[in-house]
């Protein structure tokens, strides 16, 4: 049988194997990064039917989160406010503004505004806002500086790995309940862990149960 391959083909074959391994590793890493960032729409502003600005309403005017998201302390969902909430002020302020046309149309017709979802968790995750709010997890811990966002985006990847960062070590993130709605809250530069440990105990956060599957999945 004649030699079809020259002797240096062996080296080529070796490089091919190693190259394949390196290529696969790189591909896996970049796909993971992609899945957790741009594909996951992290920090990508989501277009909405009304150019509502949290930076104006919450940041500048100082409206509390709960003025619109009334159910955040008592329910799983932080409700999207109905058009009635917008019209509470906008029946008087900036009436007829083209920016508010969709709000006015919704008010006149009774058809709700269809906002675009920013955080779309998997249906097998049973996230509950009130459980977090009432145990000292601040809005900004997950949502970031909403008070500075003219257009809203998802601030954190909201992947299971990200959830577990806190569920495995709540003391690193828990803040006093009085600061939960404070967008500008900065955890103490030193001693967050000590403060966190105290709060975890005071708020009866069950550290043993927190990382378990059934805490979020049913």
């Amino acid at each position: 049988m004649p030699n079809y391959f020259p002797p240096n083909a062996n080296a080529f074959a070796k490089w091919l194997i190693w190259g394949g391994v390196i290529f696969t590793a790189l591909l896996a890493t970049s796909l993971t990064v992609f899945a957790r960032t741009s594909n996951n729409k992290v920090r990508v502003p989501i277009e909405q039917p009304v150019a509502f600005s949290h930076a104006l309403h919450n940041g500048q005017l100082g409206l509390d989160c709960r003025y619109c998201h009334t159910s955040v302390e008592v329910a799983a969902a932080a409700n999207i406010p109905p058009t009635e909430t917008c019209m509470t002020c906008h029946s008087q302020i900036r009436v007829g503004s083209p920016q508010l046309a969709a709000v006015q149309a919704s008010w006149d017709s009774g058809e709700p505004i269809v906002w675009n979802k920013v955080h779309d968790l998997a249906d097998f995750v049973y996230f509950n806002h009130s459980a977090h709010i009432n145990k000292g997890i601040g809005c900004s811990s997950c949502h970031g500086r909403i008070d500075q966002m003219a257009a809203i985006w998802k601030n954190k990847p909201m992947t299971m790995g990200w959830c577990l960062e806190c569920h495995r070590n709540p003391a690193a993130f828990v803040r006093p309940k009085s600061e939960v709605f404070n967008m500008a809250y900065v955890p103490p530069a030193e001693g967050q862990l000590e403060l966190g440990e105290q709060l975890v105990e005071a708020y009866h956060i069950n550290e043993e149960k927190l990382p378990q599957c059934s805490t979020c999945h049913r």
Partner: protein, 196 residues
């Protein structure tokens, strides 16, 4: 034999790949705010409008005046719940969230939204409002008043009573003298006042 083995591995890999669907991620269930095409009224979604006149049964069958602020002889003059420091503090917190944008934190009606063009509401320290019973404020929150929309859908009745109690406390605070303060606490106030 070898062929069969490699063939079955290929099938297995294909099966693994084909399982990467989003079926579990987007389950066919009625999520909050999901479209609900089977609902035949104007609001097409899982978040339905409440039928007219419906009230919460969470507290069981209670006196309707708890939800209206109207007693047998008109506006309620007393709170239907015991007045505690806890209640007034709850009222303060809720007032600061829902009322202060227009009525201002001190109740003078010059809140941030008024400065942005909302018509100015009457100050809570106006003599007419100071003379109004607590049910008056509850009723205004429940049914709206003038250009103010109803807050019944946003603030539960319990909290509306707490806010009404706080408004009464706010009125008192702006027109109080030292003799209104319990004697045991007067001393600390005088010391604070002197140090300013």
């Amino acid at each position: 034999m070898k062929k069969l083995a490699s063939f079955s591995i290929l099938i297995a890999m294909a099966l693994v790949l084909s399982s990467c669907g989003m079926n579990m991620y987007d389950q066919p269930k009625a999520n909050l705010y999901a479209a609900a095409p089977y609902v035949k009224d104007k609001v097409v979604g899982t978040a339905r409008l409440l039928p007219e006149g419906v009230i919460s049964r969470e507290r069981g069958a209670v006196d309707p005046s708890f939800y209206t602020g109207l007693g047998a002889e008109g506006l309620a003059t007393d709170l239907p719940v015991p007045v505690t420091l806890e209640l007034v503090e709850r009222g303060q917190q809720r007032y600061n969230i829902y009322c202060s944008p227009c009525h201002n934190f001190n109740g003078n009606g010059l809140g941030m939204i008024v400065q942005k063009g909302m018509p100015q509401p009457t100050s809570f320290h106006d003599p007419r409002l100071r003379a109004s019973p607590v049910g008056y404020f509850f009723n205004a929150m429940t049914n709206g008043f003038g250009r103010m929309y109803s807050y019944a859908a946003r603030i539960p009745a319990e909290d509306r009573w707490a806010i009404a109690a706080y408004i009464k406390a706010l009125q008192l605070s702006q027109n109080a003298s030292l003799s209104d303060v319990p004697e045991s606490l007067r001393n600390s106030l005088e010391v604070q006042g002197a140090s300013r």
